[in-house]
C-alpha cells in the first residue's frame, strides 16, 4: 500500500496522475475554507488533469468537480500519489 510513499506537493504530479490529499499546509483560514468547500481536504481523491503553460495553474479533478488551482497553492496541498494509474474509483 501507500505506507512507504512520502507525500508530495500536488504540483509535482504529472497530468493523469492521481492521489489522495494528505494535508494542506497553512495557506491561511480563508483559503483553507475555500479549498474544503471545493472538496480539497485530507482524504479526498484528486487527479491532475492538466497544467497551464509555464508557471501556470493546475487543472485538478476532485469529487467530480474540475478546479483550477494556482501553482503556488498547489504546492501547499500535499498528496500521497496513487501507486499505479488505475481508473479512479468514484466521486
Amino acid at each position: 500500500m501507500n505506507i512507504n510513499l512520502p507525500a508530495v506537493p500536488l504540483s509535482e504530479l504529472m497530468p493523469g496522475q492521481g492521489g489522495s490529499v494528505y494535508a494542506v499546509v497553512g495557506p491561511g483560514k480563508a483559503v483553507q475554507l475555500r479549498l474544503i468547500a471545493l472538496g480539497l481536504r485530507p482524504g479526498a481523491k484528486v487527479r491532475v488533469l492538466g497544467r497551464g503553460p509555464g508557471r501556470g495553474p493546475l487543472l485538478v479533478e476532485v469529487n467530480g468537480t474540475r478546479v483550477a488551482l494556482g501553482r503556488g497553492l498547489a504546492k501547499r496541498v500535499l498528496v500521497i500519489p496513487a501507486p499505479e494509474e488505475k481508473p479512479m474509483k468514484g466521486e
Binding site: 475554507l33 468547500a37 481536504r41 501556470g56 487543472l59 468537480t65 474540475r66 488551482l69 497553492l73 466521486e91
Partner: protein, 616 residues
C-alpha cells in the same frame, strides 16, 4: 411567505428562480457573478409568496462578500422557507452547504437539480434515503427544461425543519459547553442557540484555551477550519450512504478540455474566440450604427429647428445629442459585445480563459480571474469595475480596477478608429491596441512591485460546458447593459447639456486657456483643450468636439501625424470618464479613486510626450 433560494455557484439556482417567478434573474456559468439579491413574486401552492434568489455560495462562513450577503439575509430577514438548490452531479461537495443550512432551523426543501447531468456522470442518487437522513423533502429537477417543477411545488407545503447534523463527539461536547455562554451574548440574540455556538466557535477569537485544546485532538488548525472539515466529512458519509457512482466513459464534453485547455493547442482557440468576439462586435456594431445614426441625426436637426436659438434651447438640444449618442454610438457596439460575452460565459469558456491566462496574469501580480474584468473593459469600464467583485482579495480588486479602466472601451474605440484608424490606417489603430495591452501590463508589473501579491492565487471552479439557456444569456446581457444605461447614460446626457451650455455662453477661450497645461507640452493646438476637458465626461465626445473646434472633420488637413497620435494616446489613458469615476468611488473609495485619476493622467501625459518625441 418568504422563500429563499440558496445554492452553490452554478447549481442552476437562477434558472430555477426564472422558472418559478418568470422574471429575469441572472444565471451564470461563471462562479460568482450574482452578488445581487434578486426578488420576485409568485403564487406557489395557492399562496402568494416572495421568492428571493441569493448569490451562489459554497458555504455560509468563508466570509467573502457574497456569503456575507446571503448569511445576513437568512439570519435577519425572516425567511419562512429555504429551497436548497443542488447541482446533483456534484452532490458530495454540495452537501456541506446543506448541512450548514440545516443548522439555521428554517423549514427546507432540497432540490437535486441537473438530474440529467448526474445521470450522465453515472451518479445514482437515492432520493428517499437522502430525504430521510436530512429530514426534509427532496425532489429531482432539470430546471433548464422545466422538469420537476410540479414536484417541487407540491413539496413546498411538506417542508420541514431539517434534522440537526451531529458531528464528532469532541465537537458536540464543545458545543454543549458553549451553549450557556452564547445564550447570554447579545450579538447572537434571536439566533438558534446551536447555530450561535457554531458561529462563536468559528470566530475563534474569544475561545478559551482548554476548549481549543479539546477541539483540536492533535490537529493544528483554526477552529473554523476544523468545523468546516467536520462538516465536509459528515457530508461525505451521507453521500456514500445515498449515492453510487458507476463509471462512465468520458463524453465529448469532457474530452473537449483535452484540446481547449491544452498547454499549447488551447491558445489558437483562445485567439480565435477573442478575435471572433471583437470582429463580430465591430461588424454588427458598425451595421447598427450605420442604420441608426443617420435617422437620429435627422431627428436632432429637426428638433434644433423647432427649438430655435438662445442659450437654453441650445443646451437642451445638446442634451438630446447625448441621449442619441447613447443609442446611436454606444449601444450598437455594447449590445453585441455583451451578448457574445454572455454566450462565452454561459457556455463555460470564460473560466477557461482565466485558467489559460493565469500564468500571464501572475506577471502583473494578479491571477486568472482578473482576465474577466479586463475583457469586459473593452465594452464599457463601468461593468468592468463592477466585475472586480468576483476577486476574493481586496488588493487584487484594487489593482484590477485601476488597470481595467485603462482598457479602451467602446467610446475610446470611436476615437482610435475615427482618428488614427481613418487617417493613419487601421494597422496603426490595431498597434495602439497592442501598445495599450503592453502599457497596462507594464503598469501592472510596477503596481505589483509596489503592492506585493497577498492573495492566495487562483482557486476557481471550472464548470462543465453547457448549452446556454436563451433566457439567462439575454438576462445577463441586459444586466450589464443596465449598468451602462443606469450609470453612464445619464452622465452622457448631463454632460452634453453642460457642454452645449458652455458653447452657448462662449466659455471656450477660458477653458482652452486652462487646458494649455496639457495641450502645450503635448504639442496640441489650443483648440484641443475643450475636447479634452469634455472628453472626461464622455470619451468619444473628445473626437466630435475636436472636429467642431477645428472646424473640419478632415483632421489630416489641420493636424500633423504626431498630433493625431498624441491626441489619441492621451485620450485612451487620461482620467477615466465621469461614469467610471462614479463607479470607482463606490467600489474602491474616494482616496484610491483620486490616486487612479492622478496616476492615469500622469501616465497619459508621459505617454503623450513619449509619442511626441518618437514622432518628431
Amino acid at each position: 411567505m418568504r422563500i429563499a433560494l440558496v445554492g452553490q455557484p452554478n447549481s442552476g439556482k437562477s434558472t430555477l428562480f426564472n422558472a418559478l417567478v418568470g422574471l429575469r434573474a441572472v444565471a451564470s456559468n461563471f462562479p460568482g457573478t450574482t452578488v445581487e439579491i434578486l426578488r420576485g413574486r409568485a403564487v406557489l401552492a395557492g399562496k402568494p409568496a416572495e421568492v428571493v434568489d441569493l448569490p451562489g455560495i459554497y458555504s455560509l462562513s468563508a466570509g467573502d462578500p457574497a456569503e456575507r450577503v446571503a448569511r445576513d439575509f437568512l439570519l435577519h430577514e425572516k425567511v419562512d422557507l429555504i429551497i436548497n438548490v443542488i447541482d446533483a452531479s456534484v452532490l458530495l461537495r454540495s452537501l456541506s452547504l446543506t448541512l450548514e443550512l440545516a443548522e439555521l432551523a428554517i423549514p427546507m426543501v432540497v432540490v437535486l437539480n441537473m438530474a440529467d447531468e448526474a445521470e450522465h456522470k453515472g451518479l445514482k442518487i437515492e432520493r428517499e434515503k437522502l430525504a430521510e437522513i436530512l429530514g426534509v423533502p427532496v425532489v429531482f429537477t432539470i430546471a433548464s427544461r422545466g422538469i420537476g417543477l410540479k414536484e417541487l411545488l407540491s413539496a413546498i407545503p411538506k417542508a420541514r425543519v431539517p434534522k440537526t447534523p451531529r458531528y464528532s463527539p469532541a465537537l458536540e461536547e464543545v458545543l454543549q459547553e458553549l451553549l450557556p455562554r452564547v445564550q447570554k451574548d447579545q450579538r447572537y440574540a434571536g439566533l438558534p442557540p446551536r447555530y450561535a455556538a457554531l458561529l462563536f466557535l468559528a470566530e475563534g477569537k474569544a475561545l478559551p484555551e482548554e476548549i481549543r485544546e479539546k477541539l483540536r485532538c492533535g490537529r493544528d488548525e483554526e477552529p473554523a477550519v476544523i468545523l468546516a472539515d467536520e462538516r465536509a466529512a459528515l457530508a461525505s458519509r451521507i453521500f456514500h450512504e445515498v449515492a453510487r457512482v458507476e463509471r462512465t466513459k468520458p463524453g465529448i464534453r469532457e474530452r473537449l478540455d483535452d484540446v481547449l485547455m491544452h498547454p499549447v493547442l488551447a491558445y489558437p482557440f483562445l485567439f480565435l474566440a477573442l478575435f471572433l468576439l471583437f470582429f463580430l462586435t465591430f461588424k454588427m456594431g458598425g451595421a447598427l450604427e450605420g442604420l441608426l445614426m443617420p435617422k437620429l441625426e435627422g431627428i436632432s436637426e429637426k428638433v434644433r429647428e423647432l427649438l430655435g436659438g438662445g442659450v437654453l434651447p441650445q443646451a437642451l438640444a445638446g442634451a438630446l445629442d447625448g441621449l442619441f449618442a447613447g443609442i446611436g454610438i454606444a449601444l450598437p457596439y455594447l449590445v453585441p459585445f455583451y451578448l457574445l460575452l454572455a454566450l462565452l460565459e454561459d457556455v463555460g469558456y470564460l473560466p477557461r480563459l482565466g485558467f489559460l491566462l493565469d500564468g500571464l496574469m501572475h506577471r502583473l501580480g494578479l491571477h486568472g480571474k482578473s482576465v474577466i474584468p479586463f475583457v469586459l473593459g473593452y465594452g464599457c469600464s463601468v461593468p468592468a469595475v463592477l466585475a472586480t467583485r468576483i476577486l476574493e482579495d481586496e488588493r487584487d480588486r484594487l489593482i484590477t480596477a485601476a488597470l481595467a479602466v485603462m482598457i479602451p472601451c467602446a467610446a475610446r474605440t470611436v476615437v482610435i478608429f475615427g482618428l488614427v484608424g481613418r487617417f493613419l490606417g487601421p494597422w496603426l489603430a490595431f498597434a495602439l491596441y497592442l501598445g495599450n495591452i503592453l502599457v497596462v501590463a507594464l503598469a501592472g508589473a510596477v503596481l505589483a512591485r509596489i503592492f506585493p501579491a497577498t492573495g492566495p492565487g487562483l482557486i476557481m471552479e471550472i464548470p462543465p460546458y453547457r448549452w446556454p439557456a436563451v433566457r439567462t444569456t439575454l438576462g445577463k446581457t441586459w444586466l450589464r447593459l443596465r449598468e451602462f444605461i443606469k450609470v453612464a447614460w445619464p452622465i452622457l446626457v448631463g454632460s452634453s447639456f453642460v457642454l452645449a451650455l458652455a458653447e452657448a455662453l462662449e466659455w471656450e477661450p477660458y477653458l482652452n486657456a486652462a487646458a494649455r497645461v496639457f495641450t502645450w507640452p503635448l504639442g496640441l493646438p489650443p483648440a484641443a483643450g475643450v475636447p479634452l476637458i469634455f472628453g472626461v465626461l464622455r470619451k468619444e465626445l473628445a473626437l466630435l468636439l475636436l472636429a467642431h473646434a477645428l472646424g473640419t472633420e478632415d483632421f489630416a488637413a489641420v493636424l500633423s501625424i504626431s498630433q493625431m497620435l498624441v491626441f489619441t494616446v492621451f485620450t485612451i489613458f487620461y482620467v477615466p470618464c465621469l461614469a467610471t469615476v462614479g463607479t470607482l468611488l463606490r467600489e474602491i473609495g474616494g482616496r484610491r479613486t483620486l490616486l487612479v485619476i492622478l496616476g492615469t493622467t500622469g501616465l497619459a501625459l508621459f505617454l503623450g510626450l513619449l509619442v511626441r518625441l518618437l514622432t518628431l
